[in-house]
Symmetry: C2
Subunit: 416 residues, 2 copies
């Protein structure tokens, strides 16, 4: 017997038929003897509808009122799923964020979970009652409803799992796991049985859309074993792996992964824009002068490249920002009067391709091999950044697929 | 400066344009210097949609889950109206039932308000903040959301008005007041400037659909001056009466009504069914034997007529039930084995017409005049019941309009 959190997103609860399907998944786990807490999103399309109403009411709407309006979507789903579960003979009840309570900070509209009191939930779970929890929402210090921002239900699920000390947090999604890369680009991409928190964090932040970055961070901090699996399987005949485990990808501590691969996966992100400043005065504080205003404007600068100046007087600075923030970033840089530059060059048709793997820490030559393979395909590298477990290169977007395929075979990820 | 509660129903908040219209009404009162609490229903059609989802989820749905689902409708409206008010420069915030808190009993789905803590609301009102309150909902002793049953927002409004000691509770509706009778039947029907709680209670329970009976009861108990007015007037040019009061009907204590009419209005209800039991054994306990099972089946028996038995052995019993409960009532009576009768006769095409007026208490002959007038029009009276301030007659439904018009002129209600 285990204690499980099961999370279902908007498409999984889009209508009553799909909610019945979700209930059947839940019932299977209850019948198997597990204690179950379920976290649900709003029915697909509902959140957009509510957001549109708020925007229609006022462009500059109060985030606290927005939260009260938008959180109603999850409230409806939680009640409906509880009703359907009861109808199937499963003891269940719904829980709103303020009832548990899931306490957040005061940042209405994009709140962070501060604390979850798991005591009431655990008491009910031990009595055999399924807890159906409205995801995405909590209660702020002002005793008003808060929401966690888009994709917040993943975060709710992981946070609840940590609070009730769940054995596993199952994220039911429209894919059956985490892959070595995007199967649409590389048909031979393989599903990973296990991936470490650190690797998943890099993949999540680099464009693999399986899980929200925040939920992976939270899972890593609290050591929540998080399992990505398909919500489209028939609830009464889920696939299992040869060892009897369900089919999917477990995101876990690296110690749980016996055979660590050097490279685990290739990720890419096309939502990047590159900005280069030519002949910036090379003196102390110039980086701060460039990036300070961008940070104040809440623009997330990613890759930063500054070469050693050749003449000791001027240097070139290149950095990337999310594509959505590109125009704002350019205007912030241009309007800053604390530094000077000769010209600003930029590109929006660029792509960041990344090689990720825990094994890199102890294997030399991983980066060099990547650069060589890309060069052989005549792919020009605009910028490079690296971390202990990741190498990222910025290239022209037109070469995305070629680069991903090249790197995927280079590290033999095609092979089972 | 006064303290006002303003209540707007579903059609008044059906979309963002109408919500803006509501906000303009609110702003007018705020600009006039009043402290304002607003109570809103769900957007028109929304509650039906949510109820349908619950029914689709399970015919026998848990009332606590139903409440969580259905209460979300008012949650959305309260947030949206607060946003629109802020956009118009009015300081406002939304309040959910559990935030105030509006405490109810445990009867989920049809809860009664037990207690409202007005302290927080009054504090904010005095700071000049408009309170936008989700109607229809509260919090039950189990710390879960409860709803008050259909039309509950009227009740919410009156209960909030009592809790914050409001000077008046304005019910904005699709009619501009309470009339002497249905203007569709009697074009000369007049709007009443004032009507007593007691009279309104009889009118509300007798088919005049302006206000929910429960809200009138509550207004009477707590002495809440309740004002029925139109939500369709332009917010910036509301009609006023010669004395400067707004246009509508004030429901108030009879002492506030200087010139008490003998008869205030004529009400009618077609949602009645008549059941007659012939030759029931006339012995002690027979009435209890007949009506006990109906009460247990939660069927609301209205008129009851039992004549003195002519032979001392058998009697006839006639009573009415709501049309919706008619078939169930017949089957309850037929399946009862604690009394016997020769035959059961029934009629569903009947109508109850009532004459209502506080002045009746001190004026003799009101009933006699009604019977005479109806007889002159050859309208057969099937049954009669009376109270201190009301005379009701059950007649064939075909004669409804004739009876209402006859009584309306008899008591000179046509005259200004």
């Amino acid at each position: 017997m285990a204690r499980l959190v099961m999370k279902f997103g908007g498409t999984s609860v889009a209508d009553l038929d799909r909610i019945r399907n979700v209930a059947a998944h839940v019932k299977r786990e209850v019948t198997a003897g597990h204690e179950v807490a379920v976290v649900v999103s709003a029915m697909s399309g509902k959140t957009n509808e509510l957001v549109a109403l708020c925007r229609g009411a006022s462009v500059l709407h109060d985030a606290r009122e927005y939260d009260a309006v938008v959180a109603s979507g999850e409230q409806v789903t939680s009640g409906l799923l509880a009703i359907v579960l009861q109808d199937m003979g499963v003891n269940a009840r719904s829980w709103q964020g303020w009832q548990i309570a899931i306490r957040t900070d005061a940042a209405h509209g994009a709140a962070r979970i501060a604390e979850i009191d798991g005591a009431l939930l655990v008491e009910r779970l031990q009595m055999g009652q399924v807890a159906v929890i409205a995801g995405f929402q909590g209660i702020a210090p002002d005793n008003r409803i808060s929401t966690l921002g888009r994709g917040g239900s993943d975060t709710s699920a992981v946070a609840v799992a940590a609070a009730i000390k769940a054995d596993r947090c199952d994220i039911y999604t429209d894919v059956d796991g985490v892959y070595t890369t995007d199967p649409r680009i590389v048909p031979k991409a393989r599903r990973l049985d296990k991936v470490s928190f650190e690797e998943m964090l890099e993949m999540a932040s680099l464009g693999s859309k399986v899980l929200q970055v925040r939920s992976v961070e939270l899972a890593m901090v609290h050591g929540v074993r998080t399992f990505v699996r398909s919500s489209f399987e028939a609830p009464d005949s889920v696939r299992v792996m040869p060892n009897g485990d369900p089919y999917g990808t477990l995101i876990c501590d690296e110690e749980e992964i016996v055979e660590q691969q050097v490279v685990t996966g290739i990720a890419y992100s096309k939502d990047e824009a590159q900005i280069s400043l030519r002949r910036v005065a090379d003196k102390p504080g110039v980086a701060a002068a460039v990036f300070g205003p961008l940070a104040e404007a809440n623009i997330n600068v990613d890759m930063i490249v500054q070469n050693i100046s050749s003449d000791g007087k001027f240097t070139d600075i290149t950095f990337t920002v999310p594509l959505a923030d590109y125009e704002r970033a350019v205007s912030v840089v241009k309007s800053s009067d604390s530094f000077e530059f000769e010209s600003l060059e930029s590109a929006t048709d660029v792509c960041k391709v990344s090689v990720i793997g825990m094994g890199m820490r102890s294997h030399a030559g991983v980066a060099a091999a990547a650069f060589k393979a890309l060069a052989e395909k005549s792919i020009n590298i605009r910028a490079i950044t690296t971390s202990e477990i990741k190498i990222s290169v910025l290239i022209d977007a037109a070469y995305t697929e070629l680069a991903v395929r090249t790197l995927h075979s280079l590290y033999e990820l095609d092979k089972a």
